[in-house]
């Protein structure tokens, strides 16, 4: 791999689900660039299309009803969209792997964790059963679980421990890209910190790039290099952590930051963004955020804004991004 080509380049990705109630436009023209070794935070509300984006990178959108209608997913320079099922299987787990939100259900309850970790290795590497088992044991120790627990079943582990096992499964084949779909949402706060730290350490040690899907801006601030804010299936703002946090340009991102209660200000009520996410079967005309936007003008109601390039890589999908919103 040379450093010029980005590890992952998603171009104008569109995904829709066709249901009896109508067509759900889950992802509408997502553009993403991830460099090797980088951590990207994908932030957005429930239903913004974060998970759908992640699943389309792995080509795991349930089809039917889901379908990638257009766009390219360039992984290490190769477009994954036309890949055959067989070629795609070689990518999954080996080059790109995923951590799920709920470790309670992501592990098979009737297989020992040792078997589950070795399974990935045996699917991708030509190793004997005992070699794979040995490699799995070392990986388990690397995530901080003693090797003598290899023969135990998932229900004998606590939530945080299970997530460590899931991380071990995801990282054991040394993937180039790790997609973590809200990896800490199901865990309590103290364990969250431990798991995040573990992921961060392993990631730097193994040189894996990571896409972290979350709605927790605090987590993003702690471990991400770049941030993409997603709303109604679009990336509305993208940039380095510093740029997006300190030089916020999109009104939605501003709203997100505004809704976080501040520790030093005593407030009686939280400040949510008024309104709800638009119904993805009937997206509004123009900018999809306009019904909730305090700065909305006529232009926003009728025509979709294009990406406005700001400082460096920082861009925002808003007509007034350059002016800075007051």
């Amino acid at each position: 791999m040379n450093n010029a080509t980005p590890l992952l380049h998603v171009k104008n990705l569109h995904v829709r689900y066709t249901t009896d109630e109508g067509t759900v436009h889950a992802v509408n023209g997502v553009d993403l660039v991830m460099k090797k070794g980088e951590t990207l935070g994908l932030v957005g509300e429930t239903g913004a299309g974060k998970t759908t984006t992640a699943l389309s990178i792995l080509r795991l959108i349930p089809d039917p009803p889901g379908e990638i209608t257009s766009g390219e997913i360039l992984f290490d320079g190769h477009d994954l969209v036309p890949y055959s099922a067989m070629k795609m299987r070689k990518v999954r787990g080996n080059h790109i792997s995923m951590i799920f939100q709920d470790p309670m259900t992501a592990l098979n309850p009737v297989l020992t964790i040792g078997d589950q970790i070795s399974e990935v290795i045996r699917l991708h590497d030509r190793l004997s059963r005992s070699e794979a088992y040995g490699k799995a044991t070392r990986m388990l120790e690397l995530v901080g679980i003693p090797a003598d627990r290899m023969g135990e079943y998932p229900h004998q582990f606590s939530g945080g421990m299970k997530q460590r096992v899931v991380i071990a499964i995801a990282l054991v084949c040394n993937p180039l890209l790790l997609i973590a779909d809200e990896p800490t949402t199901a865990l309590d706060v103290t364990i969250q910190a431990q798991v995040l730290e573990l992921m961060q350490n392993l990631r730097t040690e193994l040189g894996t790039s990571m896409m972290l899907i979350t709605h927790d801006l605090g987590v993003v601030a702690k471990i991400c290099d770049t941030v993409a804010i997603m709303y109604a299936g679009e990336i509305v703002e993208y940039g380095t952590l510093q740029e997006v946090y300190n030089n916020t340009r999109h009104p939605y991102t501003k709203g997100l930051f505004g809704s976080i209660p501040k520790i030093d200000v005593r407030e009686r009520r939280l400040k949510p963004i008024p309104g709800l996410m638009p119904d993805p079967t009937h997206l509004p005309q123009g900018c999809s955020f306009h019904p909730r936007c305090p700065f909305c003008t006529d232009q926003c109601r009728h025509k979709k804004p294009e990406n406005v390039l700001l400082y460096g890589d920082h861009f925002a999908k808003c007509y007034y991004a350059e002016d800075g919103l007051q």
Binding site: S97, F100, L111, Y133, G134, M150, V166
Partner: protein, 299 residues
């Protein structure tokens, strides 16, 4: 990566052995805790032992007729008495264990294999596949089980193997539906998606991740099914389409002794008891097995 390499010197074979043993031992230990299933296991083992060593255990041969000794009550010479041809009932039950256990297990095996795979495919692929398979199953289900078995064995001709096939096919719809229902609930779970995520192929996902999780109702249904299969085979024998006399089959013995029940209770009672005991033991064993094999119930 450096840390990974540092551990490479550790002995791996040791861990491997310890783990395999402990898993088997764990299942066995939990089996032992469950007294009821142990009773079931003992009875099944006894019957299996009887079936295998019938030649050495049985006091008489199964078709040794002594017409002057017909209808003898249980005595020292004939522990369970004799039937209308003067054949020793105990010996016939011992030899019959061979036939009945074979029929029960093999026809259920056919049913589970055919029905199970149909059900699993239907549930996994869904859509048109599901519809096509399940409508075919519905057609099978619309025909009463025994009528289906009769027509199949009438077409194939009488005999042990054909009886097993006939009874087996008759039970296909039951297993197809049971397996389909449990696979459908399991396949929606996240670990199946996780398996897909690590690049596992469909057969692997089905066999390794979904089916083991869908096993509990199948085991219970199958152990109950052995009982039904033995009875169905007995029914076939009764109308002359199953096992041909003088082969001792418990169901056939039961139907043959039926006409003498008023005066000679022992002719039907003992084969009936044998069937009952086998079925009872199989049910106990099935329950115990399900509990022992399911790591989620581990205490």
């Amino acid at each position: 990566m450096n840390e990974l390499r540092a551990h490479e010197a550790l002995p791996e074979s040791d861990r491997m052995v310890r783990r395999k043993k402990s898993q088997l031992r764990e299942t066995w230990r939990r089996m032992l805790k469950n007294k009821a299933s142990l009773v079931g296991l003992t009875i099944i083992v006894l019957f299996a032992f009887m079936a295998i060593f019938a030649d050495h255990i049985a006091p008489y041969h199964y078709d040794e007729q002594k017409l002057e000794d017909a209808f003898l009550k249980p005595s020292r010479d004939h522990w369970l008495g004799t039937d209308n041809f003067g054949r020793d009932i105990l010996s016939r039950i011992i030899y019959g264990a061979r036939i009945s256990l074979q029929i029960g297990l093999i026809s259920v095996g056919i049913g589970v294999a055919v029905g199970g795979s149909l059900g699993a495919f239907a549930a996994y692929y869904g859509g048109y596949t599901d519809n096509a398979i399940m409508r075919f199953i519905d057609v099978l289900l619309a025909i009463p089980n025994i009528v289906l078995a009769i027509s199949i064995s009438a077409a194939l001709g009488p005999g042990l193997v054909n009886a097993m096939i006939a009874v087996g096919i008759g039970t296909v719809p039951i297993y197809a539906r049971v397996v389909r229902a449990s696979v459908m609930t399991v396949k929606e779970q996240e670990f199946v998606e996780a398996a897909r995520c690590i690049g596992a192929k469909t057969p692997r996902i089905l066999l390794r991740h979904i089916l083991p999780n869908a096993m509990a109702p199948i085991i219970v249904q199958a152990t109950l099914g052995v009982a039904t299969a033995i009875l169905a085979a007995a029914g076939l024998s009764f109308i002359g389409l199953g096992i041909q006399p003088p082969t001792p089959e418990w169901g056939a013995m039961l139907s043959a002794g039926r006409q003498y029940i008023r005066d000679h209770w022992h002719i039907v009672t003992f084969p009936g008891l044998a069937i009952m005991l086998t079925i009872f033991a199989l049910n106990l064993l099935g329950d115990g097995l399900r509990d022992a094999l399911d790591p989620r119930l581990k205490r």
